[in-house]
Point group: C3
Chain length 341, copies 3
């Protein structure tokens, strides 16, 4: 009997199935430092214990995307090892901050299945939940992937989950104690409050980063993401290592500091598309558009719904005349952040 | 007088000599995080404080090879700065786990000397011991290196130590408190116990990693290993930076998770050969063979003796018809691990 | 209104102006581990809590240049985003050690302004101060940069600060408790005391490092330095990423261990010139010259004033017949260190 993990194929998933992902992970100041070395991250809340305390938190929490990557990484061997494509995200919510010393584990439940017409693959929807050592949920999100079929068994009854277009602002979970009443704009780096942003406004984040192979592999390993395509030049016919889509997310989010320095915490992931593959040598820039604004029940805090686009091209350009993503667009992310009202 | 360290030559070693290696090192969660960024390490014991506690330890210990590299690195300026080749390892035993906050130092004793027939070099055997800040030995191993002679002095009386072919299972030192009675196979990632492995069984670890210059240099510096050949393109006639052999060890050990996820802790190094040099751009894969099994005196724990091979080629291939290592083989390591019985 | 930071231009600075730099940063064992992975740093004081305690400190402080880079990085968005050149340093003093857990912030005061004759740029002198979470100053230094003018407004009255040629030894600030009476030379790595060095003596540090793009970008991001030229191949006409000058400082300082292992702590920066640009692929070596020696008021401690030169060439060579830096010289640094008397 082979002892290695071949990954699951489409026929291995059943509706309602709960999969326990392996390898719990304790995070420390080491992972935080690496996050700052790998990404040009400058949001003050995740950078400074003092700043976080001035906002009502006990210390600087881990960057929200570091939590996402850690939980996502745990799910890869069970969900996307044989995935043809990572198709989308929905209903993502950060439920409790993660601190140095916390240990994260994850599970996923299959909430949808639909075989493709060609009979060689299918789409699997899972709701993945990350939990800390106290059994408290820290993150929950839905993602769907296209997975190869092994053999030619019968198709399951198609079951497509009914997913929200976006997390409703009333369902956003705020970190306990958060309070922006005494927010220090000088230390945060910019003077703009939520009130200063207009729905529809586009922000060009100006800066750019040219990515190296060593960087994206260090990052992807840090999250214990084992997908071969990121590490092994022999894993794809073109001999190129595909950059983990989450790496592009973090690059873009960090670049967005310049213009959105006060968008301190991500609290929901409404959707996301990895529009085109990213490779080492690409120079990535980012732009954002304000989609919505909402009041939330914490002193001085507001929520902003943002589109964050990572691109090899210019700010503002997203889709061609055919309605498809332009070839230079890498990522189209839709999320809610907390900022001073 | 020159103030820099020229390294020792063959004539500088005398039998019984004890060399104190410089630069004690305090390890923290930072080194642990870097280990996970540099290698695709997933063994749960070194990844999660919670998992380690469920196995009777007070917290997640440092990866055993991180301890090895730290101790080895201290010895490089005194033992292998003028080494022509790192010839072998023997009688290695991990004696006590290392935790974040511990400070390691190291000494080596010369236990063997033999000048080569050509009179221009000789072999030096040393037993290197790493100790923590409490004076407790954490690791002890023998290695032997070929060192250049300076000038043409008389040869010392040849003295070749009598080394064990392998550490006897009765001499394995178990971490205090270790107990696999309540081992969580789902969190560990695989269901296989020691009883599920057969002596002689070969495991192809499937995954592969293409190595970059920045990665192996970051790793080698992290262990304060100063050998010029790893960092300076001018140090070798071919202008290539040689990858530290220990980097290949850690890559292979981390890859071996896939098929040996429950081989949680390395407790002995029976032998090891760096069969061929490894360079950036190489795609490294790994395979293991079960050499032996043994009972040990801890609840639910067994020992497995494994051969771990790192290769640029296929699993299972090791030597050619001439009995020599195949050119694609990088490392042939022989070690004992602890896993659920 | 644009929400991104365009950086300040020459006309935006006024004499006496105090600028609060954004993004406080909490440092941990993670940043310390990364420092050791990025640079071949081996000075025992910053490597080992035990060694630091044997020298009267409570634990291993952060490497002095890590503190410098952190404070410097904070100042980049306000001081040097539109800088044409980083011209010099003066009157730098480390005022209190920084420990894991400390949070640093920084401010700069404009102490000099002089428009260039061409009317398109000017020189700005600032005194930058880093402070910890207790409001204690940890570092203070002067630097001056050439900054572009925007438009053609009138020139301010020229005001050139009167800067010390070097920090006087009587003004060096020693870490509280420092005591080298029981200094362990074997653990530190070399036997040489301050008394063993002669003024004028040149030390070739022998080792060399070939630099990779990923390494200098990881380092520069770690210090939250946002200057585009280090990250974006499109930021300069030649398409090359310029290596942050501070990266070269740290490479050279770490290499200087070999010959100056006991030069444990940098306490003053008298001056420094980034003589030529450094790029990935460069092989950097270092040499030092002893400029001065001084007694200081701590048991067993002396101060050494050193020139540290980073070069792509040979030790000892600095300037050509024309008095200009040779093209292979990268850095000429002048600083005071503490070592056993």
């Amino acid at each position: 009997m082979t002892k290695t993990n071949p990954g699951r194929f489409f026929g291995d998933y059943t509706l309602g199935q709960v999969i326990t992902h392996a390898v719990p992970r304790t995070l420390s100041g080491g992972e935080r430092a690496l996050y700052h070395a790998l990404y040009p991250a400058r949001h003050a809340m995740a950078s400074s214990d003092e700043f976080a305390r001035s906002c009502g938190l006990p210390a600087a929490p881990f960057d929200d995307l570091a939590v996402f990557h850690t939980v996502f990484g745990k799910s890869v061997p069970d969900i996307s090892l044989n995935a043809v494509a990572n198709l989308g995200y929905s209903e993502g919510r950060w439920l409790s901050p993660v601190w140095p010393g916390d240990t994260l584990r994850a599970t996923s439940q299959v909430i949808g299945l639909r075989e493709n017409a060609n009979g060689t693959s299918g789409i699997v929807w899972v709701r993945t939940v990350g939990r800390n050592q106290h059994g408290v949920d820290v993150l929950s999100y839905v993602r769907w992937v296209m997975v190869r079929k092994r053999g030619t068994g019968p198709a399951p009854a198609p079951q497509v989950p009914d997913l929200a277009q976006a997390v409703d602002a009333s369902n956003l979970v705020l970190p306990a104690g958060i309070d922006f009443s005494h927010y220090d704009f000088a230390q945060a780096g910019e003077p703009h409050r939520a009130a200063d942003y207009a729905v529809g406004e586009v922000i060009d984040h100006v800066d750019a980063v040219t990515i190296e192979e060593a960087e994206h592999m260090l990052a992807t390993r840090l999250w214990q993401n084992t997908a071969k395509v990121h590490f092994d030049v022999g894993a794809r016919p073109d001999g190129r290592r595909l950059i983990y889509g989450g790496h592009v997310m973090s690059v873009a989010r960090a670049l967005s500091f310049n213009g959105l320095a006060n968008a301190q915490m991500i609290v929901a992931l409404n959707g996301g598309t990895h529009a085109n593959p990213c490779y080492a040598g690409d120079t990535v820039r980012a732009w954002s558009q304000v989609i919505d604004k909402a009041e939330v029940a914490a002193p001085g805090v507001a929520a902003l719904r943002l589109r964050l686009v990572a691109t090899r091209g210019v700010a503002g350009a997203l889709r061609g005349a055919d309605g498809k993503y332009l070839p230079e667009v890498l990522l189209d992310l839709d999320y809610w952040v907390l900022m001073p009202a």
